[in-house]
Each structure stands twice: as C-alpha cells, then as structure tokens.
C-alpha cells in the first residue's frame, strides 16, 4: 500500500464546531484538531469535550486526524490525554517536546490510559513537536526514542519566541533548526512536517516557502486556513514531466531487473537504486500504483 501523503495538515481550533464538523471536506491530507494554542485558557475543558464528542461521531472520510494536546507541564495536558487517548485518533501531537524524558513521560501516560480502556493493540501514532532551542539540540535522540513516533514537526512561532528572535519571511532564524530536524527525522524514517505560514493573504509567499521546505526534505506543511491547501498541494504534486520521467525510470528498472540487470542507463544517464526510489516516490505522490505499471509490462 502506498504511504499516506502528509502534504497538508490543517490546524482547526478545538472549540470551533463549525470547522471541526467540516474537517473532512477541506481537501487537506490531514487535520489537526488543536487543544493547545488555538483554545483560550478558560475554554480548555469545553474544547476537549467537544473534540472527543466529534471524534465519536463525525466522518472525516480519508483525512488523517491528529489531535494536538497541551504539554503535560500545563494544568491541561493530562486531562486532554484522558479524553482523547480512548478515542484513538490517527495521531496525537505532543507539543514542546524537549527531551527523551519528555517523550517517555508522555508515553507512560498514553499507555496507562490505553490499558485502563482495554486498548491492547493501539494504532494511534505520536507526532513530536520541536518548538524550543533545547528540543532542537536534543532532536536526534528524541526522534529515535519511541517506535510509535511516526512524524516530527517544527513549531516555528514558538521556536523563534524561545530563541528571542523575530520570524522573518525568509525563515533565516529557523533555518538551522529546519535542517537539523529533517536530518533527525530522515535518520529514523519519520515524516517531517513544517511549521505554518502565517500570512493567509500571501499565496506567493506560501508557495515560495513550500518550494523551499520541499527541497529540504519535508513531507508537508502545517496550514492555518483552508485557502492554503491548494497552493501547498500544487507545490508537492509532481509535474506531468516528472511523472512521465518517473514512469519511464520505473518501467525500465522493472524490465532490467527481470532480465537480471542491476544498473542501466536512460538517455546516457546512470539509473541506480536511489534514482529508482525517487521515481517511486514521485509515482506515489501522483497516485500511480507501481503494481499497475508492472502488470502492464508483464
């Protein structure tokens, strides 16, 4: 089965029923029901009950559903887990992760609640969110410490605040963090997801930033408005030319492999395993199943 795409992850405030009930129709790959920064301090209880109730009932279709809970150091984190973990959304996002110990403490609570509710084979995965300088420094250990972590994400707004700098449009202040987090994620086979682009009226700026983070190796980007979904998908979707090239590479690879040939050339350029892997990734993004290509060649 092709790997699930995470090009776009749309933040939805956890206390906004109108947006949550429509979450499955925005066209994004994933929605992130937010109990943290998007919810006022005196509405935390209302939001977690609303999100739990929505998870019980609402059809999100094939959109991946993630819930961002509050950090366990706040008065809200544990209560969030008690409500949300039994619902087993696709993932839970753990904000302001700073150390391996943070992840261990978080997972201890998650497992305790799952056990209490008789959940013996949990499918829910964990996204760790790196939002402080300490988290960036420890990110390699964080990325490797827990098998249920399947994505790592950078929180640009909090990170710049923690560093005492202003987030500029060119992202200079968080550039090192982005690259370090990507490497930590890739080294552990995790999806790496980028921070939000705050200006919803600047579509060109959003596309530029998305082009950049795609080059760095991010799997997708967090969004704050449904209007940002299409521009981000446009950047992540391969062009027709890329798809044609990938199709040709994979077809030749399949034919050569059957003939017992490992390395071959197309138009004078060497095609080896990494090139084939890139072609497969492009075909996956284009929703083309390589099994169909193989069948057409058999």
């Amino acid at each position: 089965m092709a790997k699930k795409k995470r090009r776009s992850m749309l933040y939805i405030p956890g206390n906004n029923p109108a947006m949550i009930q429509q979450a499955g129709v925005y066209g994004c790959d994933a929605v992130l029901l937010d109990l943290e920064d998007a919810v006022a301090l005196n509405q935390k209880d209302a939001a977690r009950i609303l999100v739990r109730s929505m998870l019980e009932t609402v059809n999100f279709y094939d959109t991946e559903v993630c819930v961002r809970v509050n950090n366990l150091q706040t008065p809200f984190g544990l209560a969030d887990l008690e409500e949300i973990v039994p619902m087993q959304p696709d993932n839970i996002r753990f904000p302001k992760t700073e150390s391996v110990q943070d992840v261990k403490d978080f997972m201890k609570e998650v497992r305790r609640i799952e056990k209490k509710h008789g959940i013996t084979d949990p499918k829910m995965t964990i996204h760790v969110m790196i939002e402080t300088a300490k988290g960036v420094a420890n990110v390699y250990d964080i990325a490797a410490c827990e098998p249920r972590v399947d994505a790592i994400t950078i929180g640009g707004q909090d990170l710049t605040a923690d560093m005492g700098i202003v987030k500029t449009p060119d992202g200079a202040g968080i550039d090192y963090a982005r690259k370090r987090i990507v490497m930590a994620g890739k080294a552990n086979n995790l999806d790496v997801l980028d921070t939000v682009f705050a200006d919803i009226n600047d579509e060109e700026g959003l596309k530029e930033e998305t082009e950049y983070i795609k080059k760095l190796g991010f799997a997708g980007k967090a969004l704050i408005n449904p209007r940002q979904v299409d521009p981000v998908h446009e950047v992540f979707n391969p062009s027709e030319n890329e798809i044609r090239k990938a199709y040709r590479v994979y077809s030749e690879f399949y034919k050569n492999t059957k003939a017992g040939i490992g390395v071959f050339a197309i138009d004078g350029k060497m095609i080896d395993a990494p090139v084939v892997q890139r072609a497969i990734t492009i075909l996956e993004y284009a929703n083309i199943d390589i099994k169909d290509i193989e069948k057409s060649l058999d």
């Binding site: 109108a18 109730s53 209560a79």
Partner: protein, 95 residues
C-alpha cells in the same frame, strides 16, 4: 447530582449552541427551555439529545436554557456535558 453553580458553555456562533444552567431546589425536577434557528424542524431532537446527556449524568433537578444556532448532535452533547460539569464544580484541567 444537583448543579451547585450557574454555568454556561458554547457560543452564539453558527453550528454551535449556548447552554446555560441554573441550580434549582432539590425536588424541583428538570426544566429545559430551548430556542433554536431550526426550532420547527428539530425541537424534539434537541430535547431528546439534551435529556440523554442529563440522564447519563444523573441530573434530575435543573433549569437548563439552550440557545441553538444549528448545532449537530455531538456539539449539543458536548456543550451540555461541559455546562453540567462546570455547574457541578467537577471540571478539571481548565482555568
């Protein structure tokens, strides 16, 4: 259980419902007052939904006022539950 404090939950935004709870004396029973933008179509459903939550939470004596703006069932249930918990003073993990 009997509510101890006045409490409210929800908003007047579209697709939401504002639920207000007033404590009443033991033995007064339930009084549920509903107004809704979809009153003609859904008054009975609203009543059933609100009473289901009150039943589960074992609230027998209460005055509940609901101002509905077209909320779906999960929203109605969540807002009633929140208001009741606030009125009982048992809500944890909030400020």
């Amino acid at each position: 259980m009997t509510p101890k404090f006045k409490a409210q939950a929800g908003t007047f935004e579209s697709s939401d419902i504002m639920v207000l709870i007033e404590p009443v004396a033991e033995g007064s029973g339930r009084q549920v007052d509903i107004s809704s933008t979809v009153m003609l179509q859904f008054e009975e459903d609203l009543k059933v939904c609100i009473n289901q939550v009150l039943d589960v939470m074992e609230i027998e004596n209460v005055h509940l006022i609901a101002k509905d703006k077209g909320a779906l069932t999960p929203t109605i249930k969540a807002r009633v539950e929140t208001a009741v918990k606030r009125s009982l003073g048992i809500q944890e993990g909030t400020l």
